[in-house]
Amino acid sequence: MRKIEKDIVVVGAGPAGSMTAKHAAKKGARVLMIEKRQEIGSPVRCAEGISKHWVEEVGITVNNKWVAREVRGAKIKSPSGHTFLVDEKNAGNEVGWVVDRVLFDKALAADAARAGTEIMVKTSATSLIWENGKIAGVRAQTYGEPIEIRAKCVVGADGYESQVGRWAGIDTSLKADDIDTCYQYRLTGIDYDPDYCEFTLGSAAPGGYVWIFPKDEDTANVGIGVQLSKVKHPADPKMYLDKFIAKRPGLKKGQPLEAVAGAVSICAPLDSVSMDNLVLVGDAARMIDPITGGGISIGCIAGMCAGKVLAKGVKANDLSMNTLQEYETMWRDRLENKQWRNWMAKEKLTTLSDETLDKIVHTFSQYGVEKLSVQDLLAVIKRHHPELVKEFEELI
């Protein structure tokens, strides 16, 4: 069997994998990134919305090739149609872009390659190699040929369907409350406001929301996430989405360019995403914002943390937890609090009735919110609907 030897093997060439690979290779580690698909970034399983503020931090150069559309903000819609406008005034740099993931993911992989990463496509990890009780790499299939990739550290960046963590015995299992099942069309020929991302809350999407993310003047990603615990019948997500589209004349006349199925985790941060000679990043580590279901930014930031720590470990020739503990510390310092807070907020939000959601969104739209933080939002509710705040007490 063919054997390859590297310092680091990254499984999965999504944003989290590419970011890890880049930051490790940049500091001199010998990195191989393997991707089971034949094309990085395709097919897209994403609504493609990102905020802007983190992009520079992780060293991504903005390129018009992958920015599909710049939006002015977001419209949060309540079940009966109240709209709360989020824009630069109250959200600052949270507003952002709708990207083209096919090109975005490739741009990130190209950055990794420029930093010295070797990439293999059509190469799927099939199991871990254990040696003397330690992880020593992965077995994989490349164009149907079985190979062994020996490495000092394995990076599980294999997305929502992640196997790497499970092979290693890291508990990444999810409760039904912590999963959103998703469906999306890219609709063209629609009438809508192409300058805002739109989110509709409430029973149109039980426990989740319907999104409209602009791609261009008459084309958008129109999709839905439904909390798994609230699914009553098979195919509910598609049914709810079709119903939503049928009710909006501007969308109803649109035609689909593609359909996307998928799922996101909306869970609290995992207790541990690393062990001797192995780390998980991105969706594989269940790093997703439980309120928005967004994971691109978090995955990239965590990938940067992982890459930097791995490079250190390679230099010190120690990829045990002695070194990798710093990865846990770094990503938690940067991301854990928000994931916790938003998970608790999600636990609450998903229990609210349409009437309550109407009241809340109406209050925001009527009185305005200066800054988009959980604290500020709650302060506004407290002032105008003190009876609702007790539901959120533990968040304050």
Binding site: A176, L228, K238, A263
Partner: protein, 57 residues
Amino acid sequence: MIVSIEKCHHCGACVGSCPKNAIFLNDLVLVFSDECNRCGRCVKLCPVGAITMEAKK
């Protein structure tokens, strides 16, 4: 477990959601292992309803 290849989008959502890790996506084909305890989660999870459970033999 039966998967409708006409409906399946090969998205892997069921794979990542199975509590028993009993589903594998081999290229475009879903394979179920003996670990499956027929909990039914994947049937509800699949956003297009591509999975059905056959009656117990």
